[in-house]
């Protein structure tokens, strides 16, 4: 008798859970997959996405990211999203071809792909990103302008970058270097800090010892380190960086950094969710590429 009762109860539970799932399925399941969970940049993308989700009300949203940037782990995250019933994925791809296999499986499972910050070579519905090469070039032009204004038309320059494998920062550096092509400035061999602010400071300090006239920091950590090194050296080295944070703005106000190229990661997340929902509702998300832009933040514009 007890066994029968247990059996009936279990069947009811099973039926209820099926009903629960069915009613839950009327909401769109969207996953955000970034490169890692710690970089401030991704935290802001997530914040922007959450804002759109709360506005829309018909989205079940989750942020999935490996603890560190790693291709295999990102593939795993994509697979987890597919298995978790994703209708759409907002993806910041580790690299152009790093996760193509997982993306193929996703599309085969009917999942829509929207790229935020870093697209992959695999086709997606829309890409919302900073035009990193243009932004890097802009940074280079600003630095060149400032140096020329001080009467400096030649000398050594240093680049503090994250790593050689992340497309976004590599493009920024390419753009930066292009700004100095044909000039008398010599850009030294790039040093990589993985975005660690303390390591970046060491690298920038070493550049200053070598007599550079300008330094470029390719992301938030690199920029913080560059600014701190210039502050400590107390000299005339001009620093320019990327991304925005309380510390960076402080360094600009104090005059240790010339400017920073502030991205709009929250816009990427916000518009990304809206675009995903549009696609899932059968509408067009708009342009294939949305440049979420950078603003040049200097002492005067703060």
């Amino acid at each position: 008798m007890k066994r029968k009762l247990l059996g009936v109860v279990l069947c009811i539970v099973l039926l209820l859970s099926l009903v629960g799932y069915a009613s839950g399925a009327s909401k769109y399941r969207i996953f955000l997959i970034t490169m890692d969970q710690m970089d401030q940049h991704w935290v802001t993308v997530d914040a922007g996405a959450k804002k759109a989700v709360s506005e829309l009300g018909n989205v079940t949203y989750r942020w999935l990211a490996p603890d560190v940037k790693d291709d295999a782990k990102q593939i795993e995250s994509i697979n987890n999203a597919i298995a978790g019933g994703a209708d759409a994925i907002l993806l910041a791809a580790n690299g152009p071809t790093a996760v193509t296999s997982a993306l193929r499986e996703a599309t085969a499972a009917g999942v829509k792909i929207i790229y935020v910050d870093s697209p992959a070579d695999y086709p997606g519905e829309q890409t919302l990103a900073t035009d990193n090469e243009a932004a890097g070039n802009k940074a280079g032009q600003e630095l060149k302008k400032a140096l020329v204004n001080k009467g400096i038309t030649s000398g050594k320059l240093g680049v503090v970058n994250v790593n050689a494998a992340t497309a976004s920062v590599v493009q920024r550096e390419n753009g930066f270097r292009a700004a100095f092509k044909g000039t008398a400035f010599q850009i030294l061999e790039t040093q990589y800090s993985e975005g660690d602010a303390a390591r970046s400071k060491d690298i920038a300090a070493n550049y200053i010892t070598q007599g550079v006239v300008g330094i470029f920091g390719a992301n938030e950590g690199c920029t913080v380190g560059t600014g701190n090194a210039i502050k400590e050296a107390g000299g005339k080295v001009i620093g320019i960086g990327f991304d925005k944070s309380n510390t960076i703005l402080q360094l600009i106000k104090e005059g240790h950094l010339l400017a920073t190229m502030a991205q709009n990661p929250d816009v990427m997340g916000y518009k990304g969710i809206k675009a995903a929902v549009a696609v899932l509702e059968g509408k067009s998300p708009g342009a294939a590429y949305v440049d979420t832009g950078v603003s040049v933040l200097t002492k005067d514009t703060l």
Binding site: M38, D67, E189, Q191, Y192, D196, D202, T209, V224, T247
Partner: protein
């Protein structure tokens, strides 16, 4: 008579276990310095030497902690995460208006708790060191993220200027404070390791845990002390990082545990336990620091850097193994298999 005494002392110092490797590596270090100086005249400027010494400090400090743990035959994988936890905890407290020195004390207490946890998990609960510290590694990193709600902190502000000068930017008698802090910590822990009973117990536990136990050594307390030392060193590096950047970053210290192993191992501390001196860790950390600094001045592309660093670490470990192997063969001892806490079998 005087000469003989002097000769005797020098001989005793040279005969100390682990000195052989230290001398070999020191020669290597000098060679590296000469090469880098030749490649770039800026390398040996006063400014760079000053910077270089300060750049070596975090590796040396974490190296001291890792060496203590390695000597007991264990490993500490949580070092990097404790650095991050220390950085974020201190910075978050300071941005919330807490007095910097109170924040320092709270940070040390929190990090020492991790050290205590490591020690007890490994010695009382008998977890393999690799697993236990792998667990605390992820826990500490999680704490680093949660402490400021998964955001890096704001600038710690002008109120923390005294703190920043003490740990990083200030100079005393011409040397950066960081260097003095490292020297003091090294002197204390070197004394503890080489001149006290605790030190002897640390080596005993690493050489042969059973024999140590039979001799009345408190294994649990000894192993825990090693992890507490490691946590203390990591916490200090975290504070130095906060002072350096003027803010807390969640990814601070990423990978530091392995650099600490490299510094220890290059200096002759064996990963199999019971062997190595802290003087070696100084040289090991210096080799590491000189490589990082010198390769930048040499303009080496990043791929070359990684290969060079990896090759040097492997060569020094191989040297250590070869030397130990030869010693065993020389004395004609036949060993029995012995499993160390990180799960490696080797002939005792």
């Amino acid at each position: 008579m005087e000469n003989k005494k002097k000769q005797g002392k020098l001989k005793r110092i040279l005969a100390k276990r682990g000195m052989g490797q230290v001398i070999t590596v020191t020669i290597g270090l000098v060679a590296l310095v000469i090469v880098f100086a030749l490649l770039n005249p800026y390398f040996l400027t006063g400014r760079n030497i000053s910077n270089l010494l300060r750049q070596i400090a975090p590796t040396l400090l974490t190296g001291i902690g890792q060496s203590y743990v390695l000597i007991t035959g264990n490993i500490d994988l949580s070092i990097g995460s404790v650095v991050g936890m220390s950085c974020m905890t201190s910075a978050t407290l300071m941005t919330k208006g807490v007095n910097p020195w109170v924040a320092v004390i709270i940070t040390y207490l929190a990090c020492l708790l991790i050290g205590l946890l490591n020690g007890k998990l490994i010695s009382k609960a008998k977890l393999p060191a690799f697993i236990a510290t792998l667990g605390t590694m992820t826990i500490a990193r999680g704490i680093a993220q949660i402490v400021n709600n998964n955001y890096n902190t704001d600038s710690i502000g002008e109120a923390a200027e005294g703190f920043m000068n003490f740990f990083y930017y200030g100079k005393t008698l011409g040397l950066f404070n960081t260097i003095w802090i490292t020297i003091v910590i090294w002197l204390v822990f070197n004394f503890l390791l080489s001149r006290t009973r605790t030190g002897r117990h640390l080596y005993a536990v690493g050489s042969n845990m059973h024999a140590a136990h039979l001799s009345g050594v408190n294994i649990s307390s000894t192993v825990t002390k090693a992890y507490l030392v490691s946590a203390f060193c990591s916490a200090t590096v975290g504070l130095i990082t906060t002072a350096t950047s003027g803010m807390g970053t969640m990814d601070a210290g990423n990978g530091y545990e392995l650099y600490a192993v490299a510094a220890s191992v290059i200096g002759g501390v064996s990963t199999l336990g019971g062997q190595g001196i802290l003087l070696g860790t100084v040289i090991g950390a210096s080799v590491w620091g000189v490589l990082q600094n010198g390769l930048q001045f040499a303009g080496a592309p990043v791929a070359i850097r990684n290969i060079v660093i990896g090759v040097i670490v492997i060569i020094t470990v191989l040297l250590d193994l070869v030397v130990r192997q030869n010693k065993k063969v020389g004395t004609g001892k036949v060993g029995t298999g012995k499993t160390t806490s990180i799960g490696l079998k080797h002939k005792a």
